[in-house]
Symmetry: C3
């Protein structure tokens, strides 16, 4: 499947990427596609040098390749530093705009009288926008979304269907929230009596989300017990992530799918938590730290460190640990061998 | 609790299961129930031979047992190859049909003018069906669901409340999608600049789902960066599963709850990923392979293999690894013993 | 951010907590806040003795501290047994009531004619309440929720937006269900033929939820294959938890975020499953047992036990196991040393 939202001359693509074209640069490019799916008129890219055969056989009209690539292909060749990034760039030029509901407020949406809507706001069918909400200019609320009382959302937000945003949430500019995500549900907090019966602690804080944040489908972000749960600027959160009450996520951090972050933990700026990682409560993960997929963090992680395993430790230590475990059969043999030789010595002495 | 949607003579049940009845075969069976919950008029089954006492004491009027079972019971006995499967078969005869909204389109639903609806389609209250959608014959959209523009759904679909299906999705025949599932949300893809600031890569592909697929509650399936994310025919997906962009799931694969599959990974036909397993990106899992619960797959898995542990390895190796780890206290003792004997030898020599 | 829903004299707070005030007890307290965020008029608390500097510098007017605390602070001091619990108690006095939609039924909600609504029920905009539903006195259904046919809900329920409750569910009194949760979706059950093709087993049971239960955002609880899935009284379930068909959760159990519980497993009363734990099917977890975060339970857990690791084992054993693994480099050295000394002995003998 190729995507053809517009057409562009190959020479223009080469110019905009700061490279030249080896082949017919007057060719019109109509769309982009993967190397095996591409057809005539498409631009593709070499994601990995292992795909040399696919590059030779591709039906694409042009291909982005690394500067030093020297294999055969029938397509016109554009050499670039990073074909993947360059292809993403071209994809932005060709991508059709994200689907939006038509301008204005759908008559079936239920909008409180006192909402403050910026210019060119769109609200889809059967959405609910409660009292006191502010929605910034050019923000889009898709159908079937719920925005709770006194919530403020900046400019150019994109709120997808079935999203729930609870009361008093603060959301910055250019934030995207995918379907089914829940922002501002109560934190998980109870007092427990002598019989093990729990009583709910009121969760009277809020959630505050910065600018340029993207939040995946079915993500849950709890409001603070008091004060606020904070998602910094530029943070990207993948699907099905859990962020507990009073967590603070630093600017530009990346939280991959199915990660869970327990209450009051702080994640540093530019930190990356890979898929299915988990972090205990009241932990500090330093700026720029990386936790590998499935890492289970039980202690603070220093800035810039790369941690993995469970309980999480520096990745080098984890690698050594696994290497030692892999040597266990060998160690067992060595012990048996020592035992045998020692026995011979003992018998020789008697 | 027994389920009594109809009544059937025990002789007829025996006939349809290809067996005979030991006991009063003229007895009317009014419902089915678990061995401990059953009351008079119910059919039950022996799930496990350990439940001999429950079989003796059950109030059920009839019981499905393995062919070689020889314990006491007051119920009429039907011997079958696989009591569990036979009970499931009887359950299908007795099960009330799944609840459906009434025929037609509820007046509160918001349906674009140009949708194409097959015969006997039902659409529940407050659902949204956007422009260009095709819905096949006898498909059912429950209340509060959202179906995005240009999506095509085959015959006899069952779309439950709060489901979100985004634009351009392709769905086959007889597909069931449970409440809160999200199909076609954006893949998680960014380019990153020198300062660690990420820019969204447009996700311009689609999701394509085959025939006879069932998708659990709050599952998230991302659309492809370009091209398509594919769910094959007969695939069964449990609740809270994450399927990233450009993943391809082969026909009849089974994905159990809370599994996460990273971008561009391919899961073979008839493969099984058990609960909470995770798979890294760009991995190939062969046809018929099984990944045990919690398995964390970081390398390709051959067809037919049974992998477990993290990082995932052949299950036999994982078992050996754990056995070696369990021997560590013994090894420590052996080393101490060798040390002691060696010291005696050394002292003896001096 | 401080929360100021009311004002209370410090002497009254001290009285109600059964303590006295060291400082100006006539002071009006206007809100509560964390130790670093508090401003004049706020009450705060010392969560941890490490925060002595914050206690010295806080702008709060009063602080809850442990009885034996003896550091400097400018705030009035209230000594209590457990500052955290006492603060939660004060928070309950100051907390604004949870947001509720206005009294009555919003005209845009779609309510079947035969529903039975108790006194003072509130139903928000664009919610659907199907035929045969009972809603107890003072229950609140927020906007955009779906309550399926024949479901019964007790008094003072709080059902948040985007919740789905399927047909025939039974819910007790004072139950809170957070946004996006799904109650009563089909269990994951199939028979499989010789070609590996699966056929759905009807899931004709129900979900039954006790009194005083809280269920987090995007939790999924499947209906029983037959009979019922049971959530006992006082159970607290955090976000994104999966509870499979026919599971039984005992009274007052606590299930933390992202836990998965497989089919037919029984969790004892007052048991605690910490974050990201997983439990296989048909397991029994005894009363009061605790499974640590990430624990993967593959066998029964005795009452009162504390299990961790994967596969889960008594926590003491798991600690020993990890200690032995950490000793592996030392063991390797010991073996090399023995080898060397043994070789010397052997050479000495020849």
């Amino acid at each position: 499947m190729s995507v053809a939202a517009s057409a562009m001359k190959l020479s223009e693509i080469a110019d905009r990427l700061g490279t030249t074209c080896e082949g017919d640069e007057s060719r019109m490019i109509m769309g982009i596609a993967g190397i095996r799916d591409a057809s005539e008129g498409d631009l593709t890219f070499l994601a990995n040098k292992r795909y040399a055969a696919a590059a030779r056989d591709t039906n694409a009209s042009a291909i982005l390749v690394p500067r030093d690539w020297n294999q055969a292909t029938g397509a016109a060749v554009l050499r670039v530093e990073d074909p993947d990034a360059a292809f993403a760039e071209v994809a932005r030029w060709f991508a059709p705009p994200a689907y939006e509901p038509p301008p204005g407020i759908h008559p079936s949406a239920v909008i409180a009288e006192d909402v403050q809507l910026g210019a060119d706001v769109r609200i889809g069918a059967l959405s609910v926008v409660e009292s006191g909400v502010h929605l910034g200019d050019r923000s889009v609320v898709h159908p079937c979304a719920y925005i709770g009382p006194e919530t403020r959302i900046g400019v150019e937000a994109r709120i997808y269907p079935q999203v729930s945003i609870r009361e008093h949430t603060r959301i910055g500019d250019r934030v995207i929230i995918h379907n089914g995500a829940v922002i501002g549900s109560d934190g998980f907090g109870y007092t427990v009596d002598g019989k093990g019966v729990r009583t709910k602690i009121p969760q009277i804080g809020i959630v505050e989300i910065g600018n340029d944040v993207e939040i995946g489908a079915c993500v849950t972000i709890d409001r603070a017990r008091f004060g606020k749960t904070v998602i910094g600027n530029g943070v990207k959160i993948d699907n099905l992530v859990q962020i507990a009450h009073n967590v603070v996520i630093g600017d530009h951090a990346v939280i991959v799918s199915q990660v869970g972050i327990s209450g009051s933990t702080r994640v540093g700026k530019h930190a990356i938590l890979a898929g299915q990682a988990g972090v205990a409560g009241h932990i500090v993960i330093g700026d720029g730290a990386v936790v590998a997929a499935r890492g289970g963090v039980t202690k603070d992680v220093p800035a810039g460190a790369f941690y993995s395993d469970y309980p999480a430790m520096p990745h080098n230590e984890a690698r050594k640990k696994h290497a030692y475990i892999a040597r266990l059969p060998k160690m067992k043999e060595q012990i048996a061998e020592l035992e045998k030789r020692l026995k011979q010595l003992e018998e020789g002495r008697t």
